[in-house]
Symmetry: C2
Subunit: 245 residues, 2 copies
């Protein structure tokens, strides 16, 4: 499994992804699930992937034009005229890959599935974010639904639903995401650190901040240790509940 | 779907269950998913059910001996010598029902599944709690794992993992459960109020407190309204996170 989140803030886009992949509980590895295409000053596009790793790596490789020799590559995603067109390109590639893999048998439908979050900005247009389904269709983030999650979304959802605020700073957003990821990692072994993050301020068309929190990163550890106590205090501050017979 | 939780505290056992059942999003109903067998002063046994409603109702009806005429009924669960034996009886009944229903076809396995939490106490022995699987096997709660969840468990799990404490009072436990259920109901339409609860103090062998929180219950509404703000404050009280390029 996997856990990835994309947030659309007033200030810009924020992405975070875990790095754990597993083929069985006894076969886990670390892979980056965040891919960035950048033409600084002209466009920046980020892709987060959850699902079958062979599928998602194939999609990224095809988008990178790795079927061609290195000198002939000129990824079309760096020249599409709109983010909507970029989402269509990613979605079509995803559907093709799954179709190919699934010829093997009727139960393969689910095995090779993947879901993706695509977000970014092209000069002259506002930032956009899309959630792309394995069927090759997609939805766009809006004021009503300003964040997307993919993968193991349930554990970390309540805190996002309750505490997300489009006016957050990047630092506040990353702190919120660390709590959401920590809640997930505490409950599910298929999501694990290190955690990659990326912040893109609107209209800068370049990376504002990016990096990785390792499992032993003091920031992640501090959040994890303090969150339990913070939740306890929050709970104790709630009005008392009367129970009767 | 469904959400039910059983907690094993030092003080005794606490149970909470939602009441929403659905056969499709456009066909929802309200059913109590908590069944209590009580011989005050001698034993008290509570059963929480998640899964196919026809299956779980059949299990309860068979345990109640509703195949017999009313005057001949003498539920064996009221005379088994131990909670372990009660768990075996429930588990065997559950497996039989699922086996019967599943003859229809190979995909029926999952459709008719159910999972149950059984907890209670028989005079002379300590309180016990079991999680019963559709295959008819079960596990017992212990100091290491002092609570069980069934149904739609993920949204409400992080707060339980972080804030459960075996020394809680019944009031504190119910407040914790209301938060866990509220987080779930905010994210998933298949879990819904009213919420039934039951508290059984150890060695009293009778119901200490029981009741139902309706959707409009001031206690549930207050918790729901205050929890968002409490989480925001908890988040803001966390150390700041530095992000760099």
């Amino acid at each position: 499994m996997t856990y990835c989140v994309g947030l659309m803030l007033k200030k810009g886009l924020v992405f975070m992804s875990d790095t754990r992949t597993n083929a069985g509980l006894d076969n886990i590895s670390t892979f980056k699930k965040m891919k960035v295409w950048e033409a600084p000053g002209e466009r920046i596009i980020t892709l987060l992937s959850a699902g079958n790793l062979a599928t998602t790596q194939s999609v990224v490789s095809l988008l990178e034009e790795r079927t061609k020799s290195p000198e002939d590559r000129d990824p079309a995603i760096l020249s599409v005229p709109s983010m909507f067109q970029a989402a269509r390109m990613v979605a079509d590639t995803l559907r093709e890959i799954i179709d190919e893999q699934s010829e093997g048998g009727p139960t393969a439908d689910s095995t090779f599935n993947a879901t993706m979050i695509l977000g970014g900005q092209i000069a002259g247009y506002p930032p956009k974010m899309f959630l792309i389904y394995p069927e090759g269709n997609f939805i766009e983030a809006s004021d009503d639904t300003p964040f997307f999650q993919i993968g193991e979304i349930k554990y970390g959802r309540p805190i996002l639903v309750r505490a997300f605020n489009e006016n957050m700073s990047f630092e506040e957003a990353i702190r919120l995401l660390l709590v959401s990821f920590d809640s997930t990692m505490k409950a599910n072994l298929t999501v694990g650190a290190p955690l990659d993050y990326l912040c893109v301020e609107s209209d800068t068309l370049t990376i504002s901040a990016s990096g990785r929190f390792s499992e032993s990163d003091p920031a992640l550890q501090t959040i994890s240790e303090n969150w339990g106590a913070a939740l306890q205090s929050a709970l104790e501050a709630l009005p008392e509940v009367k129970i009767g017979d």
